[in-house]
Symmetry: C2
């Protein structure tokens, strides 16, 4: 069984995944293999290699047929289990609960070799819509307090399968980074009666020096204090606390600008490993005035993360003004 | 000039190191080269390749002579500069200050090929004593609020030079991870009138299942909610808020147990990359009752950090009970 455990000093929760338990010699990494689609559990025809689908888009046929264009399944090696009670207990001064949660894989397209940013806009939109559908469904489970979408692209970003996919994790807690944003944004709102991300969008649009692209609905920019070179955020210009509030038009607009941004990064940094993560308000009510959902894209250009992990203090060799200018001026 | 910039949502400070500015194609990494000690700026005889020494241990001879056993110099490519004013300014809703701070390199021994954990205990003690001396000196500069010691060992941990060394950074702010511990520990103290790390030490000594080694002065254990496989902490059993408070006997005791712990990890994980960091109370008064200095050792066994960076949520495949048992039972 998997444990969720809370650090008694900082309040950070971690997953201790005993089922995937590793002995000291179990850490060897297999390199990402792009070639072998016969053995790829995410390829059409291999549906039996994954748990049954939770959601799929297809024009005809039934569940788990191979003619899908997008498919969502449970992770075969889930960090968290969907069945069971939370079982919150104390262990002396420590706090733990069972590793209950959802861990899903969004198979973004049937082709083994096509990356997310190489999909047509319409298919990219389907991916974003699938995230929304899953959020709305997971939200109905009252054991879950929050969900996040993320993608690991490339070995340095932690991808384990070459076939392009993203992941959704729903949690019985609010993860630390979202909690920090939540507390910071609430503090700002109390003081100023305005949403901090709305104010950031306003200032970025005035200063213009960190903007990569502006559309009617979204602002793409390098944040003022980025942790990583070429870290890039996509923020809705209208105030909206939760990702699942997007409508169809917004999803289409986001698909266009998100796809262009990933393509820009891919050209500028020559096919970098990257992660993106969608931060969205926790499921419980109360954050609607001050929290503002957004996408954070983090290319993995440097390897100096050990110190940063230990201190929370990031040294970034590329200023956001430079990275935004570079991305802005790239031919599309 | 280097900027210190504050993220307006979470309050995290980052260093934007414009002098080391990198264009998109500047991120290629040179592999760690162990062979070439002629070109190593940390080797004896190459003292002119580093800035002048700040501190050195040698039996005879003068500053910057080549007969040292330990040497502390400024980093040649410092993330922060020692000269200048803080120049705190607002930029609209953003906050920044000049990148003032100290960034020093502790060259732990003259031999190009001898790792820290292969030094004799006495020399290991010198390294720990040098940290203390530098802390006491840096503390006198009232621009600095805190200092941290850290070591990157191996490429995956961000080491750029093969010659064994550690680093000290003194900062005009308190880094985020230390601040979190400080706030969490203060909260705990307010509630219970006890230091949280003292309580942890007590419970670990009772439960015994996460202990790697116990000595008269120190407890070595795997923390209850570790972020990384084989994460290991060394905590003084007596309550002490700041590293620089250690006396000579404690330094000797710490050297012995710290060295053994690194050797255990090195054997168990077959020469892993690792980081360690010493968390110590900020220089300003007021934390003495509730903060408790300690060493955090983080082997780098997994590469799945992208998601963790984005969420602050760690998935750890090795439970602390397993890792402690494995390390405890290793023949020394």
């Amino acid at each position: 069984m998997t444990d969720l455990r809370k650090d008694p000093i900082t309040g950070r929760w971690v997953i201790i995944s005993k089922e995937r338990a590793k002995r000291p010699h179990g850490f060897a990494r297999e390199p990402l293999d792009r070639g072998d689609s016969e053995l790829c559990p995410l390829c059409p025809g291999n549906e039996r290699m994954t748990p049954p689908e939770i959601l799929a888009y297809r024009d005809s046929g039934g569940p788990n047929d191979s003619n899908w264009t997008l498919r969502v399944v449970s992770n075969r090696f889930p960090a968290l289990r969907i069945e069971g009670e939370l079982g919150k207990t104390a262990d002396g001064i420590y706090d733990r609960m069972n590793g209950i949660g959802a861990h899903e894989v969004v198979i973004e397209n049937p082709s083994h070799d096509v990356d997310l940013f190489d999909l047509p806009e319409k298919q990219f939109q389907n991916v974003l819509w699938a995230y929304r559908e899953r959020f709305l469904d997971l939200k109905r489970d009252h054991r879950f307090k929050s969900a996040i979408v993320f993608k690991n692209h490339g070995l340095a970003a932690g991808a384990a399968l070459a076939h392009s996919h993203s992941q959704i994790i729903a949690l019985p807690i609010v993860p630390k980074r979202v909690m920090e944003e939540l507390l910071g944004a609430r503090e700002y709102y109390r003081f100023r009666d305005r949403c901090v991300l709305c104010d950031i969008v306003m200032q970025e649009m005035e200063q213009k020096i960190r903007i990569v692209e502006e559309t009617a609905e979204f602002l793409v920019y390098a944040p003022y204090a980025p942790r990583f070179p070429f870290e890039t955020w996509i923020v809705p210009k209208r105030h909206q606390c939760a990702y699942e509030m997007i409508n169809e038009n917004q999803a289409y607009a986001l698909a266009a600008v998100f796809r262009r941004t990933l393509r820009r990064l891919n050209i500028a940094l020559e096919n970098p490993s990257f992660n993106f993560i969608i931060h969205s308000a926790p499921f419980e009510e109360g954050a609607s005035d001050f929290y503002h959902w957004h996408v954070e894209i983090m290319p993995k250009m440097t390897n100096v993360a050990g110190f940063e992990w230990g201190s929370g203090f990031y040294i970034n060799p590329t200023s956001p003004e430079e990275s935004a200018k570079f991305l802005r001026e790239l031919p599309e």
